[in-house]
Amino acid sequence: MDGIGGNRLRGHLEGMVLSVLADAEAHGYEVLQRLEAAGEGALRLKEGTLYPVLYRLEAEGLVKGRWEDSRNGRRGPRRRLYRLTAKGKRELGRVRTDWTRFVRVVGGILEAGT
């Protein structure tokens, strides 16, 4: 079975990012790892497209980013940590409700003939 990626993820990535940020704040790479872990290896994400999504969510006030205070002995540049805002939590609730309804309706239609 093919992986899920590209156009099939379009429009859902924002909600998925909000969802993985619901538990705790995370930097970009960690968000990706959480998505891959939750996707059970079926997700085919182009990693670079994650950051524009984070920037858009931040611009809309759904997540808030901050540069981490210290590198803790880690090499490389600073990391930017993202956490869900109150507005983001409300949006996540709305996305989940919409998705549940979508699955119920479309799933009902698709499974009717089986």
Binding site: H27, G28, Y29, L32, K46, E47, G48, T49, Y51, P52, V53, Y55, R56, A59, R75, G76, P77, R78, R79, R80
Partner: protein, 267 residues
């Protein structure tokens, strides 16, 4: 340029290829650079630990098509910010006039600009005076006082030379001509302001010269001349003032250039 001593060159070049063409503020783009490089470093570490032979190349491949990522990043930049950093072909063509060519010394940059202004002003003046003279002949006003124009043109050119030398010297102090990245980082509105200031300054001088045209021999309108020349000087000093005003931002840019801008990439 020597890039052999740059750590993780493959990763940095990949980041630079994506981010450099994005139209946005230098601060926003540097944030993007830090995040993408951090991501690639972590990804290559993970892949290397998993036994991947060329972990850095694989990490870059997984990032996706640079053009697609760049377009997505561009879409995340607010429209007003992107508009401010739009590349204007007309302005870009004349950038060297205000920013100098790489390796230019301030005096050479100022001398070239003053020479162009001198030739331009005299050329325009000759055309205008020629036209006026033909009208004057019809109206019976007599010949124009050409001799009075000479000193004013010389003083104007010298003033332009001083203004441009100071501006060029200011840029050179912060590494101006060496800042290759600065060309793409300087907002279009700043470039447009600099050019408008320069052109307006030259026009003010030009109008000051025009005050001399209808003068009768032996009487100079000094007050009007100084008024016009003063306004012209103020406008010519505009690039200098803007350079000084933007000094902190340009100094910040230089620090960023030392970190990022010296990488040569195909955009």
């Amino acid at each position: 340029m020597n890039t052999a001593d740059v750590d993780h060159l493959v990763l940095r070049l990949a980041v630079e290829r994506i981010v450099r063409p994005v139209r946005g503020s230098v601060w926003r783009k540097n944030g993007m650079r830090e995040e993408l490089l951090g991501h690639l470093l972590e990804a290559s570490d993970t892949l290397g630990a998993a036994g991947e032979v060329d972990a850095e190349a694989e990490a870059v491949r997984r990032l996706g098509d640079p053009a697609v990522v760049r377009a997505s990043l561009q879409a995340s930049v607010p429209w007003h910010e992107a508009l401010g950093h739009l590349r204007l072909p007309f302005v870009g063509r004349f950038e060297w006039m205000l920013e100098g060519k790489p390796g230019d010394r301030p005096w050479r940059f100022a001398a070239r600009l003053a020479w162009l202004a001198l030739v331009g002003c005299v050329g325009i003046e000759v055309v205008i005076c020629g036209l006026r003279q033909s009208v004057s002949a019809v109206m019976g006003l007599g010949a124009l006082p050409w001799a009075t124009l000479g000193p004013v043109v010389v003083v104007s050119t010298a003033a332009l030379f001083v203004a441009m030398f100071l501006s060029g010297y200011g840029f050179a102090r912060i590494g101006g001509p060496r800042l290759v990245a600065r060309r793409s980082a300087t907002p279009a509105w700043v470039k447009a302001l600099l050019h408008v200031g320069l052109i307006a300054g030259m026009l003010f001088f030009f109008f000051a010269l025009q005050e001399l045209v209808p003068v009768t021999r032996g009487k100079m309108p000094w007050a009007k001349l100084f008024e016009g020349a003063g306004a012209g000087m103020a406008m010519l000093l505009f690039p200098v003032i803007l350079t000084l005003g933007l000094w902190p931002a340009l100094a910040h840019e230089r620090r960023q250039y030392l970190k990022w801008g010296h990488l040569e990439v195909d955009e």
